[in-house]
Amino acid sequence: MMNWLATRRALARDGVLGINRRNAQYTLPCNPRDRYPLVDDKLLTKELAARAGVAVPELYGVVEIQREVRHVPERLAKYRDFVVKPARGSQGDGILVITGRAHELYRVADGSVLDDEDMCFHVSNILSGVYSLGGQTDKALIEYRVNFDPVFEAITHRGVPDVRIIVYRGVPIMAMVRLPTRLSGGKANLHQGAIGTGVDIATGKTLTAVWRTEIVSEHPDTGNPVSGVRIPHWDTLLDLAARSYELTGLGYQGIDIVLDRDKGPLILELNARPGLAIQIANQAGLGPRLEMAERELPNLHTVAQRVTFARERFAHARA
């Protein structure tokens, strides 16, 4: 019991954010309800970003009604690789990454194969709302599969690594790279077994990594060190993150960016309730940074000022 109390005290001292505090102090007051659909529906997010001139993965098509489902294989015929995802999916559920074809079959990122019937069933499930928040009916998006930047080649097992940045009222607060593993089945979600690596906001270099709940220094599948990797286009990434506030109007959000080999940084999705595991990856609590940003906000007027502030103040001590 004493041990628990001591841990609790240490966490509070370091300003580690718990889910109750995140909800009570940040997501509830800072994120207006009417803005949620903008990020909960990935189709809306895409349109929003496209209008603001922000790069997103190209949309190949949308399936909205069950009748269209049987035509899905024809519509997919011209694409070798693509991603099928629910417009309102949560926590990465229901995302199917097709990396190529073998005869009549689709190759999935996790190494399995699907036939046309499996594909139609998956799409139909998405439309029924199996993966959506609250189970409402949903749309299925078919979009460009990102060819990720070779910088992460050595530390990724299948799937697409992405960069998650927490943004508080336009100020990038904390960042991490999420690296798929064999365990995560090619998905970049930490609770599914992906690795989260902290990122130094100042330099864009990766720091320590967390896998499940432990700190690791090497990728469990490839054995290569995960820290010290410099993320390319880091300036652009911070700029995208800082701009996302004006895009959605959400005061506390997580922005997921992928680095494409040819197209550069693309916004994958925005999240109005970003998870807290980023703190473990960075070995730091969100609390002090959020408070610092809050104090400084009245003096930060432009996107550039917000980025500069973040780079100066949130530099990692050991980097």
Partner: protein
Amino acid sequence: MRQLHLYALSGVLAAIGCGFFLYKLLILGFPMRPEARTDVWRVEVQLQFEAQGGPARVSLFVPTGTGGLTIVDQSFVSPGYGIVTSPEPGHGMRVTYSIREAHGTQSLYYRAVVERTRLPQDPSRDAEPRLEPPDFEGAQRLAAESITRAARQRSSDSATLAALILQSLRDAPRGGEAAFLLGPQPSARRIAQLATQLIQFAGIPARVVNGIVLAPERRDAHFVHWLQVHTAGRWHPLYITEAEREATEALLPWWRGIVPFAEVSGGSELSHTIATSRSYELATRTALNQQRALERKLIEFSLFGLPLQSQALFRTLMVIPVGILILVVLRNIVGVKTFGTFMPVLIALAFRQTGLVWGIAFFSLVVAIGLAARFYLEQLKLLLVPRLACIVIVVILAIAMLTVLSFRLGLERGLSIGLFPIVILTMTIERMTLVWEERGAAEAFEQGLGSLAVGTLCYLVMKARIVEHLFFVFPELLFVVLAATLLIGRYSGYRLTEIYRFRALAR
């Protein structure tokens, strides 16, 4: 500012709740603990029928209170009806409700407060009864003679003769004379009727008595039947089953003879339900003795003023918020993962009927069967809504099967599995499958066991008699529960599970 508002609101709510609670406890003297034994019972009859549009007349018997129980108060609730009570010789007291014009479903109520008498009334003062021997004919007469003759040979006096006649009917061997007279599958009422006839046939005055067993919180009491035999100058009871002999203290005689309990003219589909409950003596005493207007109003406008059936419902309803508070604490302060927000509380409600061990066993079995069916259906690639519908059907089938099976194995508890929330179970099974596929079996089991553990805890608290009593007698305590829930709504500290989750950060 927001915090202040919240604290003020919670404070006011808690103050209102505690204030009323203390006032009722200390000034009005409401009981803090459920009493082990009280001698006041409330009985309520609800009659329903479909009126045909013209004049309608309903008559029913009301208890007259002989023996160890007396009717201290009775009331007739029937909007627009005229009420006449008249004694009906040989049967009891009959009440007639009548109205010139009635349409649609009609509900009539009769309520009585029954108290145990200090000095049991001696029934021997009744006039010497007339003997009305039945006229059996042909084969029936032969059978009746044979039974009474056999009993007479083994008896020493009228009392034992009557008892032996009843006994020969009770364990009538198949194909015997008694079975012939009783007919196939005789009811207790039929046995009572025939025993009375045979005892009269043997020359002893006897009659059938219909009544109910007073039990705490019964929503659907049934009439039971027993005999009274006049020997040695007074009536003696003669019970058909052991259950009544044991409950003799709580047997409320209602009317006598084989005549229907209630009759209707000008209407159809007459049905009745009878509810009984132990009344809180202190509460009634306060209401009756202290004639202060405000206090009487308070009691009239409390849950005690409701019809008994609704009272029984509210006994359950009032403890649900306690379960919900526990759920909120476990989810937001401890951080237990459960399927569905309020599923565990519904499970806990179902456990109230099945008992804990059986409840958990049945719940696990039904979920296991549902999961197996769900995984099988996965291959068929069904659409969501038909798939859910299939699981609902499988769940109902599983519940029916388990009920029959456990009943055949002699487990009475099994009969209450039907009360499991079927739709909630189905959604649980569907969610569990998805979690299983997306996050693995470990996560699915974690959430499943979490739900079960929370449900168990809620059940243990909601079942406690003291909790049920407190929230029924002092519903204002719900304001305190509401205040606590409001406060948790702004709790922003760590959840216990987060301390474990972030332990790597606490260097």
